[in-house]
Amino acid sequence: MPSELLIGLIFLPLLGACLTVLPWRWSTRLGVFAGLVSLPVLLVALTLAVIREGAWYYSLGGWTAPLGIRLFVDPLALLMLWMVAIIGGVAAAHAWHDFRPGTPEGARFWPLWLLLTAAMNALFLSADLFNLYVCLELVTLAAIPLIAMAGTATSIRAAMRYLLLALLASLVYLLGVALLYNATGTLDLYLMTQTLAASDGPATSLAFALIAVGLLLKGAVFPLHVWLPNAHASAPGPVSAVLSALVVKTAVYLVYRLWLWTLPAEDPMQGAVELFAVLGAAALIYGGILALLQERLKLVIAYSTVAQLGYLLLVLPLASVTAWQAASYQLLSHGLAKAAMFLAAANILHAVGSDRLADLERLDQRTPLSLFALALGGVSIMGLPPSGGFLAKWLLLEAAWQEGRWLLLFVLVLGSLLAAGYVFRILAAALRRADPTEAEDAEGTSPIGRRQAGYALLLALLALLAGFGAAPILEVIDAGAPAGWSAP
């Protein structure tokens, strides 16, 4: 029954969202539990099925492609689904305190959160270009109100800018899809490859160029990143975590799908991967420098996302098993570490009342657990051993070395130095002792503070553990390498 698992991953959060729209406290609780707690259980079964049977398709309504819409699950999709379940689940647990069912805030928060979860799961499973457009719009329209829930003028402005650019991005993407449908006769990502190999008109090239622009805008890839820092920094903590760890990754995921699966290897548009790599390198350096210059903790973390997304594009021209492992591990470890840092930052903001670096002092006394989570996340972002981030960056260095890409090696080292710079800057600010009076431990004394810090710590520890437990994960990931990347 593995295909029913796919249905469950999409429809349990979707129906859960319907339940949370109803006015009762029990319906909200039931909706959240059905939509979120069930996901890891389904995923365990799904992982076993993927290990046993490999990748497979599911035709919705029994209508086979090109007529109908197919779902597709493979190790890459599985990795993304796990991230939604774990990072989304822990962030939801963190959000439970601020958005309790039965309160007006909770009533507004949970339906959108569950719709966002369903939309991301649907997106990672969809094999249809137009269906992906609908998923992208659902992700956008569920995520942006969650930013605005912060209620501040900055967050409203950031939400508006994000919305306008996201709508532009999806329309540019849709225009590309319209051209592709007419040129190939299908909307299916994987059926399209055969037709694309036979056609060489300007239409498919323009279509892929448009789709690339749309996705780079949605993925906040330098220089189209302008909307990201304020949007991610001004949202409520759990929302920031999910935006940086998961939502921007949807666009990168689609770039991977289209360039590594859909587009035939000999297509001239494959040349775009070199451009992606250049943009990735620029993002890595620019984002790193900007992160160093920020005065607010959440903005440092948000600019770090701009930089870290660069790694995901740098990988594209390398085309080897090692590069594939590096990309997958960067997706995973950045997601875990970044979400941990945003949750920790939210706790610190709550305890200190400000996230200006100038106001953060003696955090080792005031919020020791959250500071620890922040530091552990930082270790993974910098790429220090033995974290998952270290493994991702090490694999990337190795892949660049194998291909003889010396310039890339230089950029990678520079990026890690910048990351070390901004992480140590945060830690230095947090450990300052400007005021000699003893501060109380705000977290250790309150059970709520301890629990909220625990969620951040959990994700940070998972990011660290990802470095230790790499062998079995990489074994599954290897099986899902795109064609042309798997040769030893």
Partner: protein
């Protein structure tokens, strides 16, 4: 390619370009939303004309895509308009410029 199809394809291209121009050049958010809706309309026109609408009943798949697209467009516009009212209420300006204090 029939003359009718040519006319509507060029119209679609023109409206898309006008929409992009309007979006980049307009300052008020309401105008930017209008421009985004123009771009959507242009894509829909392109889909139906390319689906053979000039000669006879067009391809039903793009027709369904356009219907879905129209409902998504009105949903996105409605939310954007609600956000705009909130922006005006919270900041006293229905304008994104001058940029936020960053």
């Amino acid at each position: 390619m029939s003359a009718t199809a040519t006319i509507y394809l060029l119209t679609a291209a023109a409206v898309f370009g006008i929409g992009v121009y309007g979006l980049l050049q307009a300052r008020q958010i309401l105008r930017q939303l209008l421009a985004i809706n123009l771009m959507g309309g242009a894509i829909f026109l392109l889909l139906i004309t390319l689906g053979g609408g000039a000669e006879g009943p067009p391809d039903p798949v793009p027709q369904a895509m356009v219907l879905t697209g129209i409902v998504i467009a009105v949903s996105a516009t409605a939310f954007a308009l609600a956000l705009l009212v909130k922006l005006q209420d919270a900041t006293g300006s229905s304008d994104l410029d001058p940029p936020d204090a960053e």
